[in-house]
């Protein structure tokens, strides 16, 4: 069986209807487990105090913010190369989720930064790249809304997605590229000096998996909605022509 079978809207609707309850159930269980474990059953950090508990929302949201853009990039490339509608509708469906995750990353980062760095915001490479990524998300959504012809909108938003990928890469790796600014390196780095202690890392991994599954669940629901919307438009057009 080929992966391209799922580019058929009917096949996608059948498979996603079967997968959705499982993915959603797993998302709720892992998200609740990870957050309860991290919030109630981990100790305070000797430097950051209880603010360390923000890591269980800030890091997964930041990973999902850039991860969503990379998923949109892959789906946009499939559209540009193979012209499969389901792929570009999945990219469109993912954009509001990525926007929300970027916003959560920015808000929780500011709230966490105030007591730790003494400021809500700094023009640090990673923070600035994240803000630009947020603006790219808004631009991507606005471009979809601004263009009436769906295929033209798909083409132009896919090109915008390619351009925005530069900022998604910078958002994730800015600390490595410039080695300056207030933001620390990766919390889950393989480098033991940077890596957070295991007592924080395990619930963090569970939260990351929970956020990831929540993303998959929401993308499936929203892509199904986009496919229905497309069919509705086609039927309305057919009715007008009759």
């Amino acid at each position: 069986m080929s992966i391209w079978e799922y580019a058929n809207p009917k096949k996608f609707m059948q498979t996603s209807a079967w997968a959705l309850p499982w993915v959603t159930g797993l998302a709720v269980v892992t998200l609740v487990a990870g957050l309860i474990w991290g919030f109630f059953f981990t100790p305070d950090d000797f430097r950051m105090g209880s603010t360390v508990k923000i890591i269980y929302i800030h890091v997964p949201a930041a990973i999902m913010a850039t991860g969503t853009w990379f998923m949109m990039l892959a789906a946009s490339l499939v559209w540009l190369i193979r012209r499969h509608h389901v792929s570009v509708l999945a990219a469109k469906a993912a954009a509001p989720i990525g926007t929300t995750m970027t916003l959560i990353g920015l808000f929780t980062g500011a709230i966490w930064g105030q007591p730790m760095w003494g400021t809500w915001w700094a023009w640090d490479p990673r923070l600035t790249a994240f803000l630009i990524l947020f603006l790219f998300y808004l631009g991507y959504i606005a471009l979809w809304e601004a263009i009436e012809d769906p295929d033209t909108a798909a083409d132009l938003t896919s090109v915008l997605c390619l351009v925005g990928s530069v900022f998604a890469v910078i958002s994730r790796y800015a600390v490595l590229f410039w080695n300056q600014g207030l933001h620390q390196g990766s919390s889950l780095s393989l480098d033991q000096e940077e890596h957070v202690a295991d007592v924080y890392a395990w619930p963090l991994w569970v939260s990351i998996i929970g956020f990831g599954l929540l993303f998959v669940s929401l993308v499936l629901i929203r892509t199904r909605t986009e496919i229905r919307k497309r069919r509705l438009r086609a039927l309305e057009a057919r009715e007008r022509m009759a």
């Binding site: 929780t108 966490w112 629901i221 929203r222």
Partner: protein, 51 residues
């Protein structure tokens, strides 16, 4: 109850903003999905009635 000390406001604000944004996204996703599904079903019914 967990003891958050002097950073209680900071931690609770971060969790509060996250819960609000995630619940808002989920609510918008579900309501839009249900609205489009209803509209498509009504359109299909109307077209099958009219042949």
């Amino acid at each position: 109850m967990v003891e958050l000390g002097k950073y209680a406001g900071t931690v609770l604000a971060a969790y509060g903003v996250t819960v609000l944004l995630v619940l808002g996204l989920v609510a918008l996703t579900l309501t839009k999905g249900a609205r489009v599904k209803r509209a498509l079903e009504a359109q299909e019914k109307r077209m099958s009635k009219n042949g």
